[in-house]
Amino acid sequence: MSTMQLDIVTPERKVYSEQVEMVVARALEGDIGILPNHAPFISPLQVTALKVKKDGEEVFIAINGGFMEVHDNRVTILAETAELPGEIDIDRAQAARERAEERLAKDKQEDIDFKRAQLSLQRAMVRIRVGQSR
């Protein structure tokens, strides 16, 4: 089975660096699957759970504010934060989700706050999903 190198890097550290068989990410215009020897490609990513297939097993990684670059059989994902399933505190994510939902229900008029709450809700949901995949 052919593989490709996947690196996930944040400003603070290198989160993940492995040979993998497939990466499924959510680009701005929808999900995109990358297999080995993909053509050079760049796209920003949505706040999403990245699906990685390695040795026949699926791993989820929570990605926030990132973009993906593919070239020379290497996939590089630069993200503001990236978390592996083992690193996620599900209780905290649940709490964040409830907070965000509360705020969304309350003030729909404030444009910026609304967007921020929406984003944090999305982040919390991605975290919960990734956290539960362990």
Binding site: P11, E12, A39, P40, I42, T76
Partner: protein
Amino acid sequence: MAENMRDIKRRIRSVQNTKQITKAMEMVAAAKLRRAQEQAESARPYADKMKEVIASVAAGTKGAQHPMLVSRPVQKTGYLVITSDRGLAGGFNANLLRNLVRDIAKRHQSRDEYAIFVVGRKGRDFLKRRGYPIIEEVTGLPDSPLYRDIQPIARKAIGQYAEEIFDELYLVYNEFINPITQRPVEKRLLPLSDLDGAEEKGLKTLYEYEPSAEEVLADLLPRYAETLVYSALLESKASENGARMTAMGSATDNATEAIDTLTLQYNRARQASITQELSEIVGGANALD
């Protein structure tokens, strides 16, 4: 004489206490310096990769120039100043702020021509006391700052550039050269200009973009600028600890020297008082004969 001896002894003890503190601070700073250096090191791949990608995207979209890449006539300048929260680091903050004040005085006629974003308590207090226009401040950052600690202020500064409130944005911080040398520098953050070197490397690959090259560029540039602010912050942290280590090292040396001098004085005084006592005894015995 006995009075004098007690005074000297008290001073020795006091200097000794100070020395213990400066010694401890020196060692703490050395440990923190190492950690800060490692952190700055681990942030580099992210910034490098981002630069590489941006350079290749920018090269591929010659037609559409992003505002962050184009210089425009300067009416208002933004400064993002990174200082430390605590002192006792030699000239770390003083040098930086002195240079900043000098450059501002040279460059601008009135206070409407610039505005300042400041990180760190020392810089904020200094600039506030002198009435400089501060838009936003961040203090109390941890020793190992996270990306999200600096993101709000960076985003705001970059956002105001994008809204054309500023026409250029400078990053003012202490550059880390090596543990004993730091240099206050002023680097132009926006418009971005140092992409030329990386461009040749990036040109080799022709990428597919989604949704389009322009949009990818518009998404990446602000992020890259934020990354540069974060790297500058990490560098400043390393410089701060280096400066503190050096300052505390020389304070410890000075204390050692002071203790030596005082000990010498003390021994002299002790000897003098013994000599005096002896001569008094001898004098007394002679008087009896």
